[in-house]
Amino acid sequence: MSAEFERDGTAWISASTGTRWVPVIGLEVHAQLATQSKLFCACEVRFGAPPNTLTCPICTGQPGTLPVLNATAVELAVRVALAVGAEVAAESKFDRKNYFYCDIPKNFQISQFDRPYCTGGGIQLPSGRFVRLTRIHIEEDAGKAIHDRGDETLVDLNRAGVALIESVSEADMESPEEAVEYLEALKEIIRYVGAGEADMEKGQLRCDVNVSVRPQGEPWRTKVEIKNLNSFRNAREALEYEIPRQIEAYESGDETRFPRQETRLFDVRAGVTRTMRSKEGASDYRYFAEPDLPPLALSESFVERQRGLLCELPEARRRRYREELGLSEYDARVLTAVREVADWFEAAARLSGRPKETANWIANDVLGGLADPKIEATSIDELPLKPFDLAELIALVAEGTLHSTGAREVMGEMLRTGAAPRALVAERGLEQVEDEGRLEVWCREALEGREQVVADVRAGRIKALGAAVGPVMKASAGKANPRRVREILLRIIGEDE
């Protein structure tokens, strides 16, 4: 479908009419807060427990029960609000959103309607756009209805009542790529402030997309909502399908095909969006203030305490890594993806004084160690290897004691056992050979019978020298310092001239 459009920046240029169509995209993202218990009861929050084992009279909606707000959920929600520069309301309230479905036990969801706890703020996308946030509010999750068991519908209420925040963005994005960037940035912020894991696989981050298209410079047109996109890829693919679908509908000139205000679902398998319900059939949620909960009052001192718990956010860190530490954009991104990794990197870099080398070691080896099934660690902090040891290793290489091949071997052992690098180097005899006499013997042996190398080097083709370096390294079992070897080889070739 998209083959008929050429894309130029955010514009989709129609091959037939030449019109420059620009998408208008806003996102609504539900993120699970990392509380131990649910939003309004004491039930444990855990992924993958047997159905209906994490429930109680309150979250199963037994008559007569009442909600009690989880204070931790409010703390975490406020941290997210502060991290996106939003305003935290001194007083907000909870409301009931009424609708009938088998996965919400009370047939209403406790949410925040007209007075959310958080308004404004925004997120800076790495590609340059600033996406404004309309609001964030706190609400409880629904359970899960399972329809694929013959005629029966089964309901699992383990998730019912889990604490969520819903972030609503302004329609500031203009491409599927920006939408994904926004999602990634939001996920990163939520993880960084410790408000949630935002793991899409576990349903901890779910998103609805609002999208319309318009010829560049013209007013907005009818928006369509695409519901329940549960991966970044789905979000992108749904938009990549929906945007040209809308453009084609307008370009057909057939008004009956024009996008109308409706909710569509993304069919992952077919890669298309389909009508779920039109606006005329939309629910009237009959919102009203939740009479079982008093207004949510947040004192200035409470908000300031949460502000004190915020750390430097990933985008700011990346900028500092690039500008002050001279790292590449790629390395900065790898290191800041997880807050613990960034903290670990900063500790090691401070100790080693060599941020670039530190970054390389982490990106190439340390994070690889985390993926190694033989090493039992799920986060960088659990590794036997500590930042101090990495700094030591970098120092050993820098002072010439250890050759990079040997260093890699030492690193492997350090990752498994946490052993100190200096001790390992001594134990395994991995110190580089700096002794001129021994190096010269190996070099002369290597040049023997390699007249072509000597001739090529003398003719100015220095690259040929490599053919002699290899055998020296081999003879030294990798302990020779390759820089010294090249110097000695060049001296010998020059002498004999």
């Binding site: 008559p63 009424n98 088998c102 036990p105 009959r286």
Partner: protein
């Protein structure tokens, strides 16, 4: 203080402590009285004979072992059918919950038990507390012990009748718009609705959450005071419960006098629509209060006229949401329908809710609907504020407000069933205080003969400002001590010993 021929809870407990009676004897007496009278009155939906006897035996053992005895030690208590007690059928007078055994115990029921009370049974009520006569119970009406052809009032119908017929000295009711006070008045017993938030609502099946309040029914003011001391006090499971300790009684130097107390008498409560008998009894009671030292002040509560429409918007709006959970999925009755989920919801609710409940759900759904929300629900909330202000202004000039509880004495069963508006007007003198959340008590103030028929009780309503529960009790106690109205019992009562 004079005590009625049948001992009140305070006297019963005292006689158990002195060894005059055992808990077992007291419970047997209550069960015998229920056996003797309830065939005719239908006050109880279920009687927990075995459980009550067993508990009495255990309490007697504890007493014999010298354990401390709680403030309701050995007192047989009836609870209304909308109050959860683990394992006991909590039907709310509805087919919907005819077989619903509560999976947990309400905070206030637990507090009763902790104080040594013995729950002997569950009393009849208008379905989901919607009604003023018991005729909306799915299990048939309760009859007024003073005249079995008449209604006992409602919705705490069975609780009032059980206390009036001396089956139990104490029962719990719930009051949303007068459901404790009106049946207390019509059955000639004491009923108290404390300040909203005094008694935890956790475990009270909700009707109108911002109005619902548990309240005791008894045969003496001192019993009300005693049970309020047990039930009141903050409950962390109810976020709307007041963060205050249990109510402490006022202990004036001269409890029999009310010197200097400014007694407000609202013109709106003594209008032309009052039964003559009611007016005569209430006027006599007001004179009596003046003799006790009160200074009578005529006041206006100008928005009283709007209380009924306001109440029927606010209460039904909340009810439409509170009762949404009864859908056949998780608990209660289930209908079949057309096989679809929505079909099952409809079939369940159509078959298992009575007409009045359906009427109020429809009304509540309507007033919250898009396009009507502000004109109805929004306006009702604004009028509610005006009603509250009426009382605030009045209480700048007076200490308590007195008037009739009900405009009529007990009306014949069947008289108002086909005229919902006439039924709604039965509550017009109790609804304003419910909307304002104020403490209000009804106590017997005389008998009035209706058209040459049998004499029927009249209730005097004593209303205090928010949190002045103890003051209301003190005024009622002084009035009670100076009259003998509370000693009058219907024929056949008192066979419990």
């Amino acid at each position: 203080m004079s005590v009625a021929a049948a001992p009140d809870a305070t006297a019963l407990r005292a006689s158990i402590l002195t060894g005059e009676r055992s808990c077992a004897q007291v419970v047997d007496g209550a069960l015998a009285a229920i056996e003797a009278r309830d065939g005719e009155l239908s006050a109880f939906l279920s009687v927990e004979r075995e459980a009550a006897r067993e508990r009495a035996a255990r309490l007697d053992e504890r007493h014999a072992a010298g354990e401390t005895c709680g403030p309701l030690f050995g007192v047989p208590v009836a609870i209304k059918a909308n109050m959860c007690m683990e394992g006991v059928v909590t039907s709310c007078g509805s087919r919907m919950l005819a077989n619903y055994r509560a999976p947990y115990t309400a905070t206030f029921v637990q507090r009763l038990l902790d104080a040594g009370a013995i729950v002997v049974g569950v009393t009849n009520m208008d379905e989901f507390a919607m009604g003023s006569s018991s005729e909306n119970s799915a299990f048939g009406p309760t009859h007024n012990p003073w005249d079995v052809a008449r209604a006992p009032g409602g919705s705490s119908s069975g609780s009032a009748a059980a206390v009036a017929a001396h089956m139990v000295p104490l029962a719990l009711g719930s009051d949303t718009g007068g459901s404790v006070r009106q049946p207390a008045a019509l059955c000639g017993v004491h009923g108290f609705k404390p300040t909203y938030g005094r008694i935890s609502r956790y475990g009270l099946i909700a009707f109108g959450s911002s109005l619902d309040q548990v309240g005791p029914l008894a045969r003496s003011v001192r019993d009300l005071e005693r049970v309020l001391g047990v039930l009141s006090g903050h409950d962390p499971l109810d976020s709307t419960s007041l963060p205050l300790p249990p109510v402490e009684p006022e202990r004036p130097e001269h409890p029999e006098r009310l010197d200097g107390l400014r007694l407000g008498v609202p013109a709106e409560y003594l209008g032309d629509d009052l039964d003559d008998g009611v007016r005569r009894s209430v006027e006599a009671a007001l004179e009596c209060l003046v003799e006790l030292g009160c200074e009578r002040v005529d006041i206006d509560l100008p928005h009283t006229l709007h209380a009924i429409p306001t109440y029927y918007v606010v209460a039904t709006a909340e009810a439409s949401s509170n009762l949404a959970r009864f859908d056949g999925v998780g608990f209660g009755a289930r209908g079949e329908g057309d096989g679809s989920l929505q079909g099952m919801f409809s079939a369940t609710r159509d078959a298992a809710f009575g007409d009045e409940v359906k009427r109020r759900i429809l009304l509540g759904t309507f007033v919250l609907s898009e396009g009507y929300h502000d004109a109805w629900y929004g306006r009702a909330l604004r009028v509610r504020t005006l009603l509250r202000r009426d009382f605030e202004h009045a209480f700048e000039e007076v200490d308590v407000i007195c008037g009739p509880t009900s405009p009529t004495t007990a009306f014949p069963l069947g008289e108002r069933v086909d005229d919902p508006l006439a039924m709604y007007r039965s509550d017009r003198l109790t609804v304003p205080t419910s909307l304002a959340g104020l403490p209000a008590l009804s106590l017997p103030c005389g008998l009035a003969a209706d058209e040459g028929g049998a004499p029927l009780p009249v209730g005097l309503q004593v209303i205090g400002p928010a949190l002045a529960d103890a003051r209301v009790l003190r005024v009622a106690a002084a009035f009670e001590a100076s009259t003998d109205h509370h000693e009058r019992s219907p024929e056949g009562a008192g066979s419990e010993r």
